[in-house]
Symmetry: C2
Subunit: 386 residues, 2 copies
């Protein structure tokens, strides 16, 4: 018996147990979770409905026992298909009380007065509920203490289970097949906006469930940034084209890119691409248990700048999984120690000239002996399009 995301209850029992062990260490009587990724992590509640910002959704994980879902009634049927048995609903939107009374009663029932309720509050977290509701909740429970989660969610979610790694691997394989087919459908003269559409079609044909993220750019000898939407400019000979996708397969993301040259590549583009691949491989070689996120940054930066650092992106890679980007960050300040099961992007960038950059990205998983590729690693030679 598995829920809407297809993972078995044992997967969620293990996540619950790891969380509760950490909560005991940190002295948390419960955790209150509000985001798509955190709720799905403990329940398997898979839906695109989070695209609607209207309704808040809550999950309470007590220090002992199973999580309790406190959710809008529109989600009752789907949550009923997960392993969660205690599902409390209200009809949302409700302008008088949009779930806060029900949530406060649930917390009061599960958490003794005076105890601590933890909510993710550090770097990369968000509270997905209105600020007014957050204030109202705390006012309703004056004898409880609302605190951060001591980084528990960050630490838990950074290390993927074998089932999670397999899903990310499957998403990467879909994108790898789609990238391999780009030369079939992309050529000089095609507007970038049409390149984006055709690439998304390739992703779907190869098995993506959704393509929430696609960025890219095309410009002579390097592009201006890596987050812009597509415009209607036709591809021209000499353009460096980059496509970076975060597609979803069974609820898990891949996140990697490919560079192409429209027609023969200029020498500096060819050289930059080869250097990016070299940097990626240096990051791959450094990715062993016991190394830190900062070590991977330094290994790649040595190839890119000789160790000078820099770059507007602010980092050379990151975690991924339920979300397109997750902790850790490959930056000098991140001393996260790598463990088997961590999934990372390696994402080196090069400044070719003012306003002209190139970025390459691959996805890897840390194993007991070293890293393994999840994305099919690109060759040093940049692919040339007709």
């Amino acid at each position: 018996m598995s829920g809407p995301d297809g993972l078995p209850p044992a997967e969620f029992h293990a996540r619950r147990d790891r969380a509760q062990a950490a909560m005991r260490q940190e002295g948390l009587a419960a955790m209150l979770l509000t985001t798509e990724a955190d709720l799905r992590y403990f329940t398997g509640f898979l839906t695109r409905f989070w695209e609607s910002p209207t309704r808040p959704w809550f999950l309470v994980l007590p220090a002992a026992g199973d999580p309790v879902a406190v959710i809008p009634s529109i989600g009752a049927h789907l949550m009923g298909r997960t392993w969660i048995s205690d599902i409390r609903t209200w009809r949302s939107p409700n302008y008088t009380d949009d779930g806060i009374g029900l949530l406060a009663a649930t917390l009061a029932e599960l958490v003794p007065a005076g105890e601590r309720i933890g909510t993710p509050s550090g770097q990369e977290t968000q509270l997905r509920m209105p600020l007014d509701s957050w204030a109202a909740l705390q006012a309703r429970l004056p004898r409880h203490r609302f605190t951060g989660d001591a980084g528990i969610l960050r630490r838990l979610r950074m290390v993927k289970s074998p089932a999670e790694v397999e899903r990310i691997r499957a998403a990467c394989a879909v994108a790898g097949r789609a990238f391999a087919r780009v030369p079939e459908v992309v050529h000089r003269g095609l507007p970038l906006s049409e390149v984006f559409r055709r690439f998304q079609v390739l992703c779907l044909e190869e098995g993506a469930d959704f393509v929430p993220y696609l960025a890219g750019a095309a410009a002579p000898g390097g592009y201006g940034d890596v987050i812009s939407p597509a415009d209607d400019r036709p591809l021209a000979a000499g353009d460096a084209l980059m496509l970076d996708t975060g597609l979803i397969r069974q609820g898990y993301f891949c996140d990697f890119d490919r560079n192409f040259s429209v027609g023969p590549a200029a020498p500096e583009v060819r050289d930059a691409h080869a250097r990016l691949i070299e940097a990626t491989r240096a990051g791959f070689d450094a990715a062993r248990p016991g190394a830190t996120a900062a070590d991977l940054y330094r290994a790649m930066d040595r190839v890119l700048t000789g160790g000078a650092g820099g770059g507007d992106a602010g980092r050379l890679g990151h975690g991924l999984g339920l979300q397109l980007t997750e902790p850790p960050s490959l930056i000098p300040a991140d001393d996260t120690v790598l463990e088997p099961g961590m999934v990372l992007t390696l994402e080196p960038g090069i400044d070719l000239a003012p306003g002209r950059i190139m970025v390459h990205e691959e996805n890897i998983v840390v194993g007991t002996q070293g890293a393994a590729w999840l994305s099919p690693p690109a060759s040093p030679g940049i692919v040339e399009l007709p």
Copy 2:
């Protein structure tokens, strides 16, 4: 000269002016905005990069003068293509100070001590930054007062400009063409997951930039809910199939659905579909300036239940635009008075039996004399697939 979203500066000047007029009325010296939709509303900063939750982004709109962007350096190039000229950046992620120092300095410069800084805090809003950063920001500015935005963003964004209406109309037209082609590619025996993929391909072929939202279901004589992901069950004769999409064209959403019958429709499915269309038309007829959101609810509910109300969805329609769902809500408690330029979904649902529902949805815009369809309105007869 237009920015990455293609809208001219005059569009943003008008939005700024309307906001500042409201701020003066409410006594706000500045607004602090953190979400994708709110930032884009005032800047035209269009990117899928918000899919990455890692970095916070800030926009400060003072009571006079132009907005100031306080953003990660990875966004500097793209923000530089908008009409915003005052762009302040930091290299993010930064574990010591992820933009809070820069944001506090900006607010201190623009807002006199003792004055109020408003942030959206009511129903349907979220603060997109870590709670710890939010606390740190307030601690750095002890002489400023952080308050809600008095609903200003809600009121402003509910009324669309002609340019916004045209974009939503264009998105609706794309989805309309895609729905019309469903009988070409969907048939009995096709797994629902493959139906989802093929429908997304149709949307892209017809001009969608992205298809962030697709939900749906297929089951004999009505489905269980409207937010579930696809499973691999093949379509069977007698299934009622519903596909509900929020696709994006030039940064604006449509949000409507279509129902199909796999093979000949059972009489109760046919009747339910005709009733849903009748309810939609009742909502359409009621959508005139001066009517309230609650009036539209009642007009549809009268057809659906004779006025008894109910339904797990919690409402019978909502606003849309920059986001898949926006205020108002078509519920008895929403007394929002309709104005020309408001774009709404009409989304009646029927309970056929326990666990079997059908939902229909169209998109309309309120004009000076009454409503106009943005989606091509469906006929009472349900479309039958081979």
